[in-house]
Symmetry: C2
Subunit: 376 residues, 2 copies
């Protein structure tokens, strides 16, 4: 994996770049749609590629490990072939889902023991076997096993957790170096900065992570309930330490405004379920603010969903029609809203990229963050 920085904003830490993987280029800053269990919910792969223009998508190791399971994935020749997606895929380590979904989880130096949220079966994730799983999945960018601390989280717990995460990290990289990809496409491994909302822990973690000189670095444990100012503060602390010449990935974040602020703070990669999850609930993100399409006010608004929207659905369907689909619980409603939101997120990062290139990023961003979060 290669990363080349192309432009740097003079008024912020924003930058543009190109990540090159064996499965193609990713122009940063980038948003990555989440394909949890091998599918970005409600969206066809062709739509993802040609309409939404996703350059890379996510897969969740926890979910894929449980279903379809490693046997099927191995026989399929990896996740790309299984789902028919030939662009890059990034996989998380499964750690987050172990903590948020599974029962009876027990963390130890050894790893994370848990019971499946589906059938209660017992499993153990270790720093090593998670790499093995990601090798079988065949993702282009793999994540190390870490503990994503909850919020709030006391200092004592965050301290202990960070030690655990750093211990796991060492073993993950050792195992990474002793293993190889299975399908002929090289796989990068990103370490993850943790440390909750404590500056000194975040600093320490960023330094440990930086010392690995990995092909890219991730920041986890943010956007888990803490005030947004804390998130930006931690991001600033961390990005100051992480290598400038490697992509920085803020995991699981966030709103359109979060993403623009993250870019301003020098972050290159983002993922979030928000465009699809909120889309399924009738929330649309647009250039001019947020639309709750279920609202009565759209009942006879026959104008396009978004006049100059990024997806073909924006001009194909009217607000009144989309509102109707939600009112009668037709699944096409969720499909349209998901496509709209994903295309909007991809439009947003592409636009940010152009604004960085032309030197207009900071002023544009300041106008946009207010506009994007207003209610229409």
């Amino acid at each position: 994996m290669d990363f080349k920085i192309e432009h740097k904003d003079t008024k912020s830490n924003a930058r543009t770049g190109v990540i090159t993987t064996d499965r193609g280029e990713i122009k940063t800053p980038i948003f990555m749609p989440v394909g949890t269990i091998g599918s970005v919910k409600g969206v066809h792969q062709q739509e993802l590629k040609y309409d939404i223009k996703a350059q890379i998508i996510l897969g969740n190791t926890y979910h894929l490990y449980l279903r379809p399971g490693l046997d099927v994935l191995r026989q399929a020749g990896g996740l790309h072939k299984f789902i028919n997606w030939d662009r890059p895929i990034l996989t998380d380590s499964g750690g987050y889902q172990v903590f948020s979904l599974s029962a009876n989880r027990k963390l130890s130096d050894k790893g994370a023991a848990f019971s499946s949220h589906i059938d209660g079966s017992k499993h153990l994730f270790t720093p090593e076997n998670v790499i093995d799983t990601e090798r079988i999945i065949g993702s282009d960018i793999m994540m190390v096993l870490d503990e994503c601390t909850p919020y709030p989280c006391d200092y004592e717990y965050a301290r202990k957790s960070l030690n655990l995460t750093h211990g796991w990290l060492k073993r993950a990289f050792a195992h990474y170096k002793n293993t190889d990809n299975l399908y002929g496409y090289s796989q990068a491994l990103f370490p993850i900065v943790q440390g909750s909302v404590f500056k000194d822990l975040r600093k320490e973690s960023a330094e440990v992570i930086a010392s690995y000189n990995a092909e890219g670095n991730a920041i986890g444990g943010l956007s888990v309930g803490e005030p947004v100012e804390d998130m930006y503060e931690m991001l600033e602390v961390v990005n100051n330490i992480l290598p400038k010449d490697k992509p920085r990935y803020l995991m699981g974040v966030g709103t359109p405004a979060n993403i623009l602020e993250g870019i301003a703070l020098g972050t290159d990669m983002f993922d979030c379920v928000m465009p699809t999850r909120n889309g399924r609930n009738g929330m649309l993100f647009t250039k001019n603010g947020i639309i709750n399409i279920k609202n009565q006010k759209w009942k006879t608004d026959f104008s396009p969903i978004e006049e100059d929207g990024a997806s073909y659905v924006d001009t194909q369907y009217s607000k009144a029609y989309l509102r109707h689909l939600f009112a009668v619980n037709e699944r096409l409603g969720a499909q349209i809203a998901s496509m709209h939101n994903l295309a909007f997120y991809l439009w947003l990062v592409t636009e940010a990229r152009q604004k960085i290139e032309t030197g207009e990023f900071s002023s544009w961003k300041n106008i946009m963050v207010t506009k994007l979060m207003s209610r229409m």
Copy 2:
């Protein structure tokens, strides 16, 4: 509306033709996907048009009358504009849903009084106001209000019901002739043959219906639980009487085999929720038989859904992947299965058309009806 017969099969009553409406041509025999409440479930309008190649779709008057309601539809300029579909639309009369969905229904000479299945509100459908509703919807082919008799149904009830249906029919046509379309596209009105499984009633009804010399004629009250032989027998009786030079529409039917037999008996138009409803449950219709995609046997079958299938999804996704999507309850599974089945149904009627043209229909049909209903 115009109907031109192009080819007649010599060994059966099958024929090919072209229906011309103000919104374009429909090549018969044709299958019409059901867009119940303004959406063919799980399928985008563009997919319906360019991938599935639907020439005409259905809308349900009962559902559309309740939601979005006539005000919205009128302001939208009709259903075509509301949902953005520029090819023909056929609407049923709502009678069937009044009997199958609503509560407290009371039939009288006046019409069908019922309570909405959504909020219990009281409504009355009359032969006249159903036409008015269909005028507001703006469908290219409208249906008259009728009573669809249940099965089983005793002779006495069927007799009484038929009188009611014929009484309503007279008023419907009188009102039809006294009203005009609202959007500049002419609208045909089809009368409906009823009579349950009683030959004499079906005969009588077909004669009454034929006497209207309508632009097309429909056969209702079949495929409601009666043995399939009864359905074919009634269809034969009725099609012998209905004008040969007008399209014959068998309502709500059916399996791929039912459709081929229906074509052999001289039927030109079909609609059914089966491709989408069964698709959502994991049942796929293919050239070689029925696939229950949830079955364990497809778990590691990485071959295309259907090698030479009619939809792009057939080669885009594998059986193993589609099975996985159903196993993890991902909505993309239902979307893929719905598209596959609809494209298959459209392929089937197109293929039947070609076989009629080349004189191979009867022998092909006999092979296909067995093959289509076998389990893979």
